[in-house]
Symmetry: C3
Subunit: 209 residues, 3 copies
């Protein structure tokens, strides 16, 4: 069906794009080529893997479809060759990363819905799928995860999941609902990047211990 | 039953208290509000989740009871509003954190016992439930986990689990055994804090590579 | 059977050796004795645990055989007593660590083969079993994992797994195939250490954000 095919294609593009941004993070840490390929795989596949392990949903996507490993490792390694032109594509990467966040969130929600999980868990499954890959990437790069510090990243994921679930409940059907969630979520993310929307921060300077 | 109800209430209090101390850790790293809520959830629910994933015990507690997500995220967010008074409550938090360690340990042992795991695994399940949340919190905050460096934290968990299992084997019954383990474990932890008991450290300064 | 027994013995030696090198890493971070024991267990058992959780292969090895916890914790704690002589054993440790990498890789492949996983997953299962323990160790020590930065560590694991699978397909049988993979993999690793073979690095200095 059109929407399924569209989401499927976007999901593949998103996997590759997320692996490529992970490769750039690896390059900033001077990792070797194996590290680049591994960080690409782990970042692109880590969110879905975390969701599946936490929900007990086996087999994991890359175990059932091992070519996902080749796709993400290949995209990461290709980034090494493309490094000189990549910074001209900055805006393209930001948009692809935003598409990845929204598409991964929707597919995460769909997995939880197929498992008949309650609604809060459906939205959390979307959040985990969309965001945990980046958290693992940041931890492996020895950074405090960006997710916890800046940008409406997790918020976009939660809103996308809520819109998707809401649209399904409003009777929009399995084709229209993901499309509405995709358009609204992507718009929200791109506006947040464009206008540098940020969550307020909690700054606490006393020691508890 | 009285003991069950007491442990259940203490477990809720412990979830909230652990989420609140995680929120303070998030504040020391200037995380945003979403980061505060996420770190609260992950710290309070991470130990039990790790235990369940490692033992193959599905569904996880927060998947079966999604309100645990609201409780822990809410407690973490409430900490932002309470930040100005929190440092007056330092002793209260230390006691609540100690209660959390001991109660989580006992509930972790109970899950493994229900799965008919061998005794060492019962005690390890308690240790994971009591301690892994804090390890994840420290890793997300880019610290070397406190558990590996200081305080009788893991030791209290192992002793609590051993007392619990020993009390059951001594025939104390499902009401008395957790109560004995709770009182002894909490006393041990509070004495360790009060008198700054510490494990000896292993200091090795040569490079292997 | 001879090969099974040999691999079994080598696997035990490898568990102990990996726990001991983890203990030295803990000592360089001045962890306390509990931290040393925990880091030894997690490093030696983490790779196999990650593989089992990702493949849904329960129970985990240390849950089925809790004495593995005693072996690895004991080896880590013994390292404290042996710290003064350990640096004289530098070469022994490098060889034991190489044996560990190769043996863990082969046993990881065997688990995936028993689960009838496709060939790429068999090799990835070997890679995870051989390498993830060290990644967890480095993350708990607040380092960027060595695996991503230096040495032909992951590469040795992939080559060992590929040789093992290839030897099985070439009809070498369940005794000869692991032996061939062990000898070739170990030789590759020791040559890589001896001649300081390295992967090229990807250095990227521009900011994406």
């Amino acid at each position: 069906m059109p929407t399924d095919v569209l989401l499927g294609v976007l999901s593949l593009v998103a996997h590759a794009a997320i692996a490529m941004t992970a490769a750039l993070a690896a390059g900033r840490r001077s990792m070797d080529w194996v590290g680049v390929a591994l960080l690409g795989c782990v970042t692109a596949l880590g969110g879905g893997s975390a969701r599946d392990v936490l929900l007990g949903h086996y087999p994991l996507s890359w175990v059932a479809n091992p070519w996902l490993l080749a796709l993400t490792a290949g995209a990461a390694l290709a980034t090494i060759a493309l490094a000189r032109v990549v910074h001209h594509l900055r805006v393209v990467f930001l948009i692809l990363d935003a598409i990845g966040l929204v598409v991964f969130t929707i597919t995460g929600c769909q997995v939880a819905l197929q498992m008949n999980q309650p609604l809060p868990i459906v939205i959390v499954a979307g959040l985990i799928t969309g965001c945990v890959g980046g958290v693992i990437r940041d931890m492996l790069c020895n950074d405090i995860p960006l997710l916890f510090r800046a940008e409406l990243y997790a918020s976009v994921s939660v809103v996308t999941g809520a819109v998707y679930v809401g649209a399904l409940h409003a009777g929009l059907g399995v084709h229209a609902a993901p499309l509405v969630a995709f358009v609204l979520g992507l718009t929200f993310r791109l506006l947040a990047i464009r206008y540098k929307w940020e969550m307020p921060k909690f700054v606490y300077t006393r020691d508890l211990h």
